[in-house]
């Protein structure tokens, strides 16, 4: 910024004998605006984009939560009525329970697997790049393609999984068709589709662990499990924590898998918060209640994001 100032009108340098008169506040402001005009000009583009596509929709969403709208006449303020509608909906609690279940299962399955895969990949001596690419490949598939592909895997009749089970003499499973296995089935899909990115991040974290630590552990006679527990995990603890928080935030917003694969069924066992929100907005055209629901999710996830920011700030 000082460079820009020096290229503009040269500031008047007060002499030692003549004390400079204090500049008027209005004049100072004008000068500062003039000095920074270029910066403000360039900033405009970003500000307009953020305002149009982020801030305005957020503010509008909050307002909509307290309004009834038909997009023809003026919105009607309805106070907490949209929230009351939501709380009276028996599916509201079901949706939160299912979403938390999905998040919990995703932590158990989807959190451990990418880390384990990263540790194994890190230990590989040959074809490392090939296996990294193989693990990352599903990330490049569009989510809807993944969901449709897995729908066939899960087909209780001639599907891939049940064919495999039958071939080894095991009874077939109902997968998506049963309330007992539907949510776990969705978690497996989501984990498979997204583990590539998490694995790469873990691999990067593993690469930063000094080799001397492992050498020292080996000299002390540590087993593989002990090295993993006392060297690898403590050294990647921060990345693990951040990834966990990011995963919670991402999995709380699960939508594609239940929308494409189960439609929320069977018997509402896979209705998630976003799926219910989607139904309110785009099936029932009740944007007020949908916005109320999104506001609740926003507050909930805001808490997690605050925690995430606090953790990263503490670390830095």
């Amino acid at each position: 910024m000082s460079t820009i100032t020096s290229r503009g009108a040269p500031p008047r340098v007060p002499s030692v004998t003549e004390p400079a008169p204090p500049a008027a506040p209005a004049g100072r402001l004008r000068r500062r605006l003039t000095d920074n005009l270029t910066a403000y000009g360039f900033l405009c583009a970003a500000l307009v984009c953020f305002a149009l596509f982020s801030w305005y929709p957020i503010v509008r969403g909050v307002l909509l939560s307290f309004q009834q709208v038909n997009f023809v006449s003026d919105p009607v303020w309805v106070g907490w009525e949209n929230f009351e509608t939501l709380f009276a909906d028996p599916l509201f609690l079901t949706a939160w329970r299912n979403t938390l279940l999905f998040t919990g299962l995703a932590l158990v399955v989807g959190f451990a697997i990418p880390f384990a895969v990263a540790v194994v990949l890190n230990e590989l001596r040959h074809a490392k790049a090939f296996f990294r690419m193989v693990v990352y490949l599903p990330v490049m598939l569009p989510p809807v393609v993944v969901a449709i592909l897995w729908k066939w895997f899960y087909d209780p009749g001639p599907g891939l999984f049940n064919s495999l089970l039958r071939s080894v003499g095991l009874p077939p499973l109902a997968w998506l068709n049963s309330t007992d296995t539907s949510m776990l089935s969705l978690v497996l899909v989501a984990t498979w589709a997204s583990m590539g990115s998490a694995t790469l991040i873990y691999l990067a974290a593993l690469a930063t662990i000094p080799g001397e630590l492992y050498e020292a552990a080996e000299l002390d006679g540590a087993t593989v499990w002990q090295r993993l527990r006392h060297v690898t995990v403590p050294q990647t603890r921060f990345v693990l924590l951040v990834m966990m928080l990011m995963q919670i935030i991402a999995t709380m917003q699960v939508f594609t898998e239940p929308y494409v694969m189960t439609g929320g069924g069977p018997e509402d066992s896979t209705v998630t918060v976003l799926l219910l929100l989607y139904r309110y907005a785009f099936t029932y055209n009740d944007f007020g209640t949908a916005s109320a629901m999104s506001l609740l999710l926003f507050v909930f996830l805001g808490g997690f994001s605050a925690l995430y920011l606090r953790l990263t700030r503490t670390r830095s």
Partner: protein, 455 residues
């Protein structure tokens, strides 16, 4: 020019450009056509992937404009998409004349998202010849009218005549009761090779939609008026009978296949591939099976709803943008009447379909069953017979049986009620040990919550 000035100028140009863009986004386009014509946008134009239907539509636009030189029709592709409807309305992009399914008008009227056309109807010919129960769907409690029906369907039993023959069943004597459906399904499933006797939807509210059709077929209701409001009416003996019949077909008879959570496309695919014996459908499914799923007209038969009590009415129509000017409303109604409700064009229209070997003879477009008994209906029936290109006899049981059935419209807040009933369908089709009483009670509670919001 110094670097600073150049940079500042660039920044200001950028800012001004963005400002102009934003202003342009917010401005309303001028709808008035050239030469003082009334320009109206209309949707319902078939996509280019349906070349025949598209050609017919575009020819109609040109012909209409020739006959109405003061109106400029601007056609748009697409039909009713609830996902984009509100956004288009809010953004001023909703067509002046827009397509709706018969499930839509009740909510659109309640939210005032369609224009009141009552005062303009006196100028629209043949409106009095349209079936009153269809017009009722577009009418509010005060008798104000917000749209016009252009086609309707009644649900029936669509069956595969080829599989019926292979299973030793008479394709000319389709099942008339649910017990007969069960027996036929058993024989068809016994053919093996993954053949499914009877399939049913159970996802994306389509399960609830068909559960409603089942209820009507057994003389039941899913919602009924109680005082000033509405309440669900399916947690009773009829509802239990429907659920128990489906449960028995799925688990005792094992005639509904293992894969569940099906939607219409899944079932149509099975039928088109010759792997399905029967499903509940409207006549307009037949051309879809032929054109999109490689079926053959000769393979399909249509019977009235088993149960013999009632059938679910559905269909389509057109409504007018609530922001449309009176001139546009008048022009829009002229288009709807000329294109879809025009007895004077029936002969020439069917001739075009016949020349191209398109299906004529089904109780569906281009000969929709929307007219009351009288001159218009008689004309259509005689022309249908004259130009028939599909084996009309295969659908005769449906046409003959329809008169005996009570035709019922969908419940209010249909989608939410269907969402509740989806669960009943899913419960009986995916869980052998399901508690039907509990399923119905849970669905009742959800449906009542939805019905309590009917305004």
């Amino acid at each position: 020019m110094s670097t600073t000035i150049q940079r500042r100028s660039l920044a200001l140009v950028l800012a001004a450009g963005l400002g102009l863009t934003v202003t342009a986004c917010g401005s309303e386009s001028d709808d008035a056509g050239a030469d003082g014509k009334v320009a109206i946008t209309v949707n319902g134009q078939p996509p280019k992937t349906q070349p025949f239907d598209r050609k017919i539509f575009d020819e109609d636009v040109a012909k209409f404009e020739e006959e109405h030189p003061d109106i400029d029709i601007q056609p748009r592709e697409g039909f009713m998409d609830p996902k984009t409807f509100s956004a288009k309305l809010a953004g001023g992009q909703l067509e002046d004349v827009f397509y709706v399914y018969l499930t839509d008008p009740a909510n659109l009227i309640a939210r005032r998202q369609a224009a009141d056309i009552t005062d303009y109807l006196a100028d629209v010919p043949h409106v009095d010849q349209i079936q009153p129960e269809l017009k009722e769907i577009f009418t509010d409690d005060d008798g104000r009218v917000y749209g016009l029906p252009t086609a309707n369907y009644s649900m029936g039993l669509l069956y595969n005549r080829k599989l019926f023959t292979e299973a030793g069943l008479d394709p000319d004597q389709p099942p008339a009761t649910w017990d007969e459906v069960r027996e036929a399904a058993k024989k068809i499933t016994a053919l093996g090779d993954n053949t499914v006797g009877f399939a049913e939807y159970s996802k994306n509210n389509q399960g609830g939609w068909h559960f409603t059709a089942w209820m009507y077929s057994m003389g039941g209701e899913v919602a009924e008026k109680q005082g000033a409001g509405w309440a669900s009416a399916f947690n009773n003996d009829t509802g239990r009978e429907v659920a128990e019949t489906l449960h028995a077909m799925r688990w005792e008879d094992d005639t509904m296949g293992q894969k569940q959570l099906l939607v219409i496309e899944d079932v149509q695919r099975m039928m088109g591939a010759g792997q399905l014996g029967m499903y509940l459908a409207a006549p307009d499914n037949v051309p879809t099976l032929v054109n999109q799923f490689n079926g053959d007209y000769a393979d399909y038969g249509l019977a009235p709803m088993p149960g013999g009590e009632g059938t679910l009415l559905g269909g389509e129509g057109y409504m007018i943008n609530p922001k449309a000017s009176p001139e546009k409303i008048r022009a829009g109604l002229q288009w709807i009447q000329w294109k879809y409700l025009n007895p004077d064009r029936m002969d020439a229209n069917l001739q075009r379909y016949a020349d191209q070997g398109q299906p004529i003879g089904l109780p569906a477009s281009p000969t929709p069953d929307i007219w009351v008994d009288g001159e218009v209906r008689d004309t259509q029936e005689s022309l249908k017979e004259k130009y028939a290109t599909v084996p009309v006899a295969n659908y005769q049981p449906f046409v003959d049986g329809l008169a005996e059935l009570d035709k019922k419209i969908e419940p209010p807040n249909a989608q939410q009620v269907y969402a509740a009933l989806d669960n009943v369908m899913q419960g009986v089709l995916t869980n052998r040990d399901t508690d039907i009483g509990q399923l119905l009670a849970d669905a009742e509670s959800k449906a009542n919550q939805a019905l309590a919001q009917v305004r």
